[in-house]
Point group: C2
Chain length 339, copies 2
Amino acid sequence: MTTPRNRQVLLARRPAGVPQADDFELTSTPAVEPGPGQVRVRNAYLSVEPAMRGWVSAVANYSQPVPIGGVMRSFAAGWIDRSNVPDLPVGTRVTGSFGWQDYAVVEPAAIEQVVADEGLPLQAYLGVLGINGVTAHYGLLELGRPRAGDTVVVSTAAGAVGSCAGQIARLHGCRTVGIAGGEHKTRLCKDTFGFDVAIDYKAPDFNEQLAQACAGGVNVYFDNTAGPISDAVMGHLAIGARVVVCGTAALSSWSPWPQGPRVERHLLVKRASMAGFVIFDHPQHQPVARRDLVQWIRAGDLVYLEDVLDGLEQAPDAIAGLYRGENLGKRLIRIAELP
Amino acid sequence: MTTPRNRQVLLARRPAGVPQADDFELTSTPAVEPGPGQVRVRNAYLSVEPAMRGWVSAVANYSQPVPIGGVMRSFAAGWIDRSNVPDLPVGTRVTGSFGWQDYAVVEPAAIEQVVADEGLPLQAYLGVLGINGVTAHYGLLELGRPRAGDTVVVSTAAGAVGSCAGQIARLHGCRTVGIAGGEHKTRLCKDTFGFDVAIDYKAPDFNEQLAQACAGGVNVYFDNTAGPISDAVMGHLAIGARVVVCGTAALSSWSPWPQGPRVERHLLVKRASMAGFVIFDHPQHQPVARRDLVQWIRAGDLVYLEDVLDGLEQAPDAIAGLYRGENLGKRLIRIAELP
């Protein structure tokens, strides 16, 4: 029995801001056998998230930072190729926080989902049926609390979370306004993701377009940016508006702490609220969200895009690429063919 | 029957920022008799609120601005001295938005409270039993949702709203931290209003004192400032913190729009929320709040201070004085002795 090599992407140093390719290094060591009560997962798809910037940052965050020299933390999907757990036979398809590596030896508790055959591809469970879709579902419905007829504005609207949030809002009878960068993404918002209005934040008349699209007031703002786009939307809140703080993609560094227009007066005058969340706090919401999402996808009511890079060597630059805005849809890295 | 003179304080021009004495003018005209279905109120006490800055501002707000040449909008307490309404006989004590003037002719709908004799002075119904106490009660309990053992931080803690919010938090079993300006107000917070910790924001080691007082994290922040004090507190939020945006006293102007450290990252990492409110939206909460407040005051559990200026001619400078921090407790103007 040959021992396969386990290629790993390690965090080589603490990045300042968005992690770049040279903040990581690739190594290769023999794959480890699982111990008693453990399984070994062969990763097929690795996930790339904007939130990874936070995971490697030493600045106050919602999780311990990835240690220097440690395997980069990541969701991944694959199959069990060695098992010392009777309930998890070889071949079982799973997702979990398995890291940027070929093989992960884990306890069963580390497995997030055992993926049953629902007629959907395995990698969907990393995106629209994984962190991205569940994040959009929880944030929009639990914190945004949209009502039919509401105007719902979504930033990074062509992204994996934003496109899903916009479609869920539309499925709840809302009028949806998507904000994205560039003509191609803007068209995608309209034509593929079905936003009622799509606005290019790079357009010279962005503020005028936004004012026109939000003339009746913004009831729900689902934000992923925390930058100038957000500041522009805050000026159009309706009375009782809910602002969902899902991400801070527009902030490239937290040192010095970024400044911006104060929000207090908007919140006061509009009796509005602004709330942040971390989806890992809400595991009980995952089955609820997945049940809805699977149903909508199968009915053709919810679509998603994937941006699949081939080969583990693509991983180190993949986060920086997200922040360069080069991907359309959920970014994944394929590192093995499913058996 | 002599017709009394009705002295009025009119808004002479649109102030830039905090309204100053010379933004107003005093006039005197004969008092008007009430028409059918109307009463005339003789004002005894006029109220002075930080929110008045907003009421005279043309910038987006929660109410139409006071027109130039109009009587300054204000809560007032007095008695009915002429009545064409059988249910409201002469002598009835009332509060309402009667304006900065000696006499107000109003419909019964304009009367906010008919003040029954509860053994408390009439002017209390403008402060601790009026807008200030009801604001503190609603904001703290409905938006702050304090739980016993929570650390509750209050800014402008020696003020009419802040001191009340802090005491209500203490009565709900919370540990209370009050922030006020200067040694005298800080001592007042400790000795009179019973805050567990009181911090002088003018002290050179304010940040260190705050960090020490909030080492376990801030569960509820009741803010009246929206300035550097607020920014300092935001750095100490506990997971799941609730920030209540009650006022924006630290912002002297909204043009250009004030800048400050962005709050999004705090809200996200701490799964926190920040919500504004306008107490006039919640008339149904008034009797609930007043019942609690009357009971606490009578039991000696809740104390309040008043800062009473004598004479209508004090009114024009009274708002600016609030922002200069010269008052201790609820600022009122006494313009007539109760019969």
